[in-house]
């Protein structure tokens, strides 16, 4: 679960996914292949479905998400 104020953005050319914490100014760009997006929902923009275990642990360590 992402903390409030975290922005997730997949670049259109699939060159990476940006995670940006607007509260702490911490940012991280990860390999787009490590993230899965749902583009079939009602939203007009892709929604992050899941990330690999390795990326998940980085996101937790850097304070983007709450650990389960």
């Amino acid at each position: 679960m992402f903390k409030a104020g975290v922005l997730v953005y997949p670049f259109s050319d699939k060159s990476g996914v940006l995670f940006y914490n607007t509260d702490t100014d911490e940012s991280l760009i990860v390999d787009a292949t490590q993230c899965e997006f749902n583009v079939s929902g009602e939203q007009s923009f892709p929604v992050l479905d899941s990330v690999s275990e390795r990326i998940n642990s980085i996101l937790v360590n850097k304070g983007f998400t709450e650990s389960d």
Binding site: L7, S15, L18, T22
Partner: protein
Amino acid sequence: MTSSFVLNCSPFTFSVETQFPYIKTAAKHIYGNRLIETHEFDGYIDYHVSIANSKGLRRLLKPQARFLCEGQEPFKPLDKNQGYALLEWGLNWVIATHEFSYVIVHSAVLAKGDKAILLPAPSGSGKSTLTAYLSNHGWRLLSDEMALISPADSRITPFVRPICIKNNAIDLVKTWFPDVYVSPIAPKTHKGDVAHMCPSSHSVDEENRSAEVVGIVFPKYDPSCFLDVYQLDKAGCFQGLTKNAFNHNLLGAVGINTMLNLVEKSACFEIHYNNMSEVSHFLDELVLGNNCV
């Protein structure tokens, strides 16, 4: 004796006081009719700055120029011969640290019509020499130093001020453009010898015309390369842009979304060059929307 004047330099207006007469003379050459005598100006002043002499005995023995803005003195005093450069750097500092209505990136901006190219680069990359060449070869200068990006539409607001040229480039630029005014050289600054070159009149004439960014090009002067062009992916371009940004983090989500929007709608490149004319042709193709790789 203190003289004062107003620099009406869209989109900002500065009131300037100085105890060094040569600074006003240089500013008059550089800013032309955008320099207004204080008693003739009745508009709104955004920032009050001054280039003051040092105090006490030092002002007689070894005068130094001090930049002051609203009671703050962000820089150490410099030799009085570096006073004009200090004024220009001070105005950059004022905008970079006080303006939050724009996302600001350390970048030159040049345009053809209302199609603009961003040239973000650190000091020493040859950005200003390239900007001096291009702005006198058909390109409109929006800024040599900082891109003012409107968060609402990611368009660039011109902030047309002199081009800061350094060291060997000073003689080069004077040879290229013998009719263009260049300020007295500020010797031995932390950037070496520095002078400021007057912006082209057509750039000043269009200082109220914003432009849409179509390309982001990271330039690097390399004497061994005629022109090498490398296409950047969006993530790499975003990282490069944020390294050169002044205030995107202070603006939070607005700043980041503005930068993302800019990257997504622009063609992104890094160029290594030693031939300015080839760079100009490359940028021409970019604003025309042609495939440049």
